[in-house]
Amino acid sequence: MKVTEVNDLVNTYGIDIYNFCRQLTRDKEEADELYQGTFLKALEICEKIDNEKNPKSFLLSIAIKLWKNRKRKYAWRERIASMENYQEELDYSENQLMNTKSPEEEVLKKENQELIIRAVASLKRDYRVPMYLYYTAEVSLKEISHILKLPEGTVKSRLYKARKEVKKYLEVNGYGR
């Protein structure tokens, strides 16, 4: 792959891939490594990515494979990093306070968003990954089924079950109260 092609890929899809990596890993440092690893792996295994054939899905599938294989290494770090992530999410959310209504409303909105993020992060992997692909990377059901090599029906079923579990989590944890 030529440098110009790589540059185009990074410019076009870098942000989507990076956001997906951030959601998947819940840790900036891991996400940086995964993001870099994804593009480097794409460099190694692909002589030329045809831009008409969905390079985004290709990159996302590489990210997922790399993440699955690395997961064990980082499992112990996740426990330590979880409090740091929470703080990071707070910092991020504060940057979003652009269209403030009232301070109370914004605090509530922030807390509810964090609850939702935690709800999804608590799902098992089979449900979590399709959720991030659908909501963070904004990939269609058909593409998710290609990326995960699953029937479309199974993807729909997992998203359905994931949403159901998120709803339950939110209810139990007092969402909106």
């Binding site: 792959m1 990074v10 460099l43 029906g153």
Partner: protein, 387 residues
């Protein structure tokens, strides 16, 4: 909370706006530049390699295959696993380079190795399974045209199912899918290389160990014959499809009967959970119990038929792998998935299946009941009950 409201909340919460650091992107581009320079150097060396190999062309297919294909260690390197690459070069690895053909494909088993801690595979239950068997297979077209790359739309349209099988164990139940397996495909110079791995089959090395290669997504029970007396597995001569079978020459001294039995006991315990997760239904024999939302409940199909409300019925056809797809939607919820025909009915069984699928929406419970008639046609009935 309505589904639509949840959908909006999820979109809002999960659509983050992180931006990768400039330094990160610079590193990627620098690496791309390095590779661009390296590729030029490699090309200059290539004619020397080609010249040396031309001298070998007159000899056997095996030697030709060795030159034509990547070595298993190279495939492991492409996968990014140096440890596995070393294992493929070690004395424990078995180099095979055996080719069989079917239709427009040549299939070559390049090599096999087993061992612990060669990769970091996590099962669907997020458990690390470190004791694995790895096999590398190359698939190419007999006419020399290239296999579709993994980024092509055509990739995957012709699926390949590659799995170890074990003498004495029903291959429909014990194969790469049920033995915590996975695979990684790359396409290099028009040849598809699959690195497959699953739980370590060396435990069973005192039996015949096979590697099957078929052109289906999952194991096709019609492709092979399992002799229940001898435990031997052979290709079904009447099967219309790819059903290649290789025998893996594992070292019988590496067998471990005790560990093998423990493995079989453990795997039998774990199957109930995974079957539930994929929407499959636990097969019921004589007891009228089944699993619903992870709990065993008394099943009475007649009670459902008499007391719940029939809301839909649909004739369905199992796909070539024996899966029956179902789906249901009402104004509040939707559900779909698939179940296995042989999980619902015994061979030749007619009537209502004793097993069923179930689920819950916000306000209703629903059940999928399956009926097979004398012609083998299956009808899926959906019943609802208000909570």
């Amino acid at each position: 909370m309505e589904d639509k409201e949840l959908d909006i909340l999820l979109k809002s919460a999960l659509s983050t706006n992180y931006v990768p650091d400039q330094e990160l992107n610079k590193k990627i581009l620098n690496k791309a530049k390095e590779r661009e320079n390296m590729n030029i150097k490699r090309f200059r060396r290539l004619p020397v390699v080609v010249a040396a190999c031309l001298l070998l062309i007159c000899s056997s297919v095996t030697v030709f295959a060795t030159w034509k294909y990547l070595a298993p260690k190279d495939v492991a390197i492409e996968y990014g696993n140096q440890q596995l690459a070393k294992a493929f070069e070690s004395g424990d690895a078995i180099t095979m380079n055996e080719t069989q053909s079917y239709g427009e494909y040549n299939v070559t088993v390049l090599g096999v190795v087993s061992g612990s801690n060669l990769s970091e595979f996590c099962s669907n239950e997020d458990k690390v399974r470190s004791d694995r068997t790895y096999a590398v297979v190359a698939i190419s077209k007999t006419d020399g045209t290239p296999m579709p790359k993994t980024s092509d739309d055509e990739y995957g349209k012709e699926p390949f199912f590659i799995s170890p099988l074990i003498q004495g164990l029903d291959p429909n139940k014990y194969n790469i899918v049920t033995m915590n397996g996975g695979y990684y495909d790359i396409v290099k110079d028009g040849i598809l290389y699959r690195l497959s791995d699953c739980d370590n089959v060396e435990l069973f090395a005192d039996r015949e160990i096979y590697l099957c290669v078929g052109n289906s997504t999952f194991y096709d029970r019609n492709a092979y014959v399992f002799n229940e007396e001898t435990g031997k597995i052979t290709p079904n001569g009447n099967f219309k499809g790819m059903n290649l079978l290789f025998t893996l020459p594992l070292n019988a001294k590496k067998a471990d009967k005790e560990a093998a039995q423990k493995y079989l006991d453990d795997i039998a315990l774990s199957w109930g959970d995974s079957a539930q997760a994929e929407g499959a239904v636990e097969k019921v024999k004589d007891e009228t119990v089944a699993e619903e939302n992870g709990k065993l409940v008394e099943l009475d199909v007649n009670e459902i038929i008499n007391k719940w409300t029939l809301v839909s019925e649909q004739k369905v056809k199992p796909d070539k792998d024996g899966r029956i797809y179902y789906s249901y939607k009402n104004q509040n919820s939707s559900m779909d998935g698939y179940v296995w025909e042989d999980g619902l009915f015994e061979e030749g069984e007619v009537g209502y299946s004793k097993a069923y699928s179930g689920g819950e929406g916000d306000n209703t419970k629903y059940s999928f009941i399956y009926y097979r008639d004398e012609n083998g046609e299956i009808t899926v009935y959906v019943y609802e009950l208000d909570k």
